[in-house]
Amino acid sequence: MVKKKHDDVVLEKCPTGITGLDEITKGGLPKGRPTLICGSAGSGKTLFAMEFLMRGAMDYGEPGVFMSFEETPEDLAKNFISLGFDINDMMSRGLIATDHVYIDRSEVGETGEYDLEGLFIRLGYAIDSIGAKRVVLDTIETLFSGLSNIHILRTELRRLFKWLKDRGVTAIITGERGEKLLTRYGLEEYVADCVILLDFRIQEQISTRRLRIIKYRGSSHGSDEYPFLIDESGLSILPITSLGLDYPVYKERIATGVPKLDAMLEGKGFYRGSTILVSGTAGTGKTSLAATFAVAACRRGERCLYFAFEESPSQIIRNMGSIGLDLARWVKEGLLQFHSARPSLYGLEMHLLTFHKMINEFNPQVFIVDPISNLSAAGTVTEVKSILTRLIDYLKMKNITTFLTDLTHFIGNLEHTSEEISSLIDTWLLLRDIERNGERNRGLYILKSRGMAHSNQIQEFLLTNQGIGLIDIYTGSGEVLTGSARATQEAGEKATELVRWREVDRRLREQERKKNALEAKIAALRAEFDVETEEVHLIAEEEQKRQAVQVENRLDMAQLRKGKSSAPQVMRSKKKR
């Protein structure tokens, strides 16, 4: 950081306007100094130089001179109109001046001493005519084949670069790549401030272009090889490796579009800005899950960018209609955008750039690639990983939720393909086939989900005309069952349960009956007992009566015998009932 600050103070930079270059050079080319662009034929040197001029003239108000040693201005104009650069128009507006320097040794004789003052005058004239701040010399080395006195030429080139510096113009000098040196004639010897190498190589029939800053005096810069692209909007460089892991994170959660899946993810769904991978074998419903997520995003009013590497947009729209997803509606409303391309159509870098460009243009909140595994057709595993790393870093920077699907193969471990990119993934859903009893069913589970307590259950994954459904899988009696097996098992279980309930019912009723019987018995005994008690009471009463009678009889007898006694009288009154 300190160093960067230092750069800003010491070295003034001239923004190129070329996508990505200003980031890796931390501001552009050294202002007021010459920069050497070297590379083999067809590596994009002229385009680089021309774009530098055009962007300068259009975006930074710095007119430029293009001095061509190879192509005529007419050819240049024709070549660059396809990239959206109308040189003739720019020339008529006084923003660009071109000069074609042509020298043919067979037509020119040399006698004695000379210098290249004529070239200086021409360049100076062109610069003054439009007040140019930028100059391109493409490819000045042609002079070496046009002039035979190398000694003079070298002296003059040295003078030329010094002259350019003195004029304070930011210059680009292009040079053909040499066998041992950076340039065929060692131009790097004269241009010491900044040297950029463009490389063009073909690997497995797919071409990749790369750019490297070989030196940049007085400035720190990215030193990696950066892939770059040439397409209809000019040159774009991917400064991806300059991205770090310091992107912001968000706590916001977004729905997956499948309520049951939300439930598995703490009931809230994915984190916004996280990276989700769905992997599974063919036909497990990856695209359906992706489309459901896309629709959920659109329903929230978010924009969704859908990269399809397997199917055409119309086919996806048709197919998703069968599970009740109306994608066409969201396309029409401009919230959903499809981009279809065969992965082998162009190299990985091109894909990555296309991603970048589309993302920048459409500015989506949700980004879907279906499937990423097809990218491996366009490059090796390491390359794919590097591309995805850069892509994911980029998306995280922009807080875009990324949904990737990955087609895994039947052979080997199901998690195989994704192993390489696992570390990049925040939430990883796995769709797998469960084959049993002549039937194939889909199961879904969460392999990992960073930063949340997710469910560990395998859910049966159903595609219905109402969308995606998740059903708790049958896990009773130590077995995992899905599909009709689950249904059968569940039905069977219901029946068994019913029978068991009936049995319980029966026993309950029996017990009730027993209880009733018992109570009846108790009642009978009690009745008997009561009867007995009654009898006993009656007997006791009779006995009393009998005794009373006896006492009376005895009193009567006593009276009869004329004896007096009060006691028997009291007793009599007491016992009387």
Partner: protein
């Protein structure tokens, strides 16, 4: 700078100027180099093309826009406009022999 042989115009290459050598010398400023090359050229012409030549000297410091037309890179440059085809020689013209070859004067 200087124009030797009067009335030379670009269009004067028709019948009226048949056999006339039209030469154009590009220099940059009135330097010692410029005068040397002009002297060398004048010398050669006087010797080999006496009376049938005209030299136009163009100072590019005064007329920088003219450098483009004849594809001037090096200074000094001598361009033989007539007789056709156009021929170009760069350098100080010190080597008379090579100038004669370069301008194809020997064959005349």
């Amino acid at each position: 700078m200087k124009t030797v042989s009067p009335g030379k115009r670009k269009k004067a290459k028709t019948a009226a100027t048949e056999g006339i050598w039209s030469l154009r010398l590009y220099v940059a400023g009135q330097t010692r180099k410029s005068t040397t090359v002009f002297a060398n050229l004048k010398n050669i012409c006087d010797t080999h093309l006496a009376g049938k030549y005209q030299i136009e000297v163009i100072d590019l410091l005064k007329h920088p826009q003219l450098a483009k037309g004849d594809q001037i890179i090096a200074i000094p440059t001598l361009v033989r406009k007539l007789p056709e085809p156009i021929k170009t020689i760069i350098g100080d013209l010190a080597n008379t022999e090579r100038v004669l070859v370069g301008l194809d004067i020997r064959s005349v």
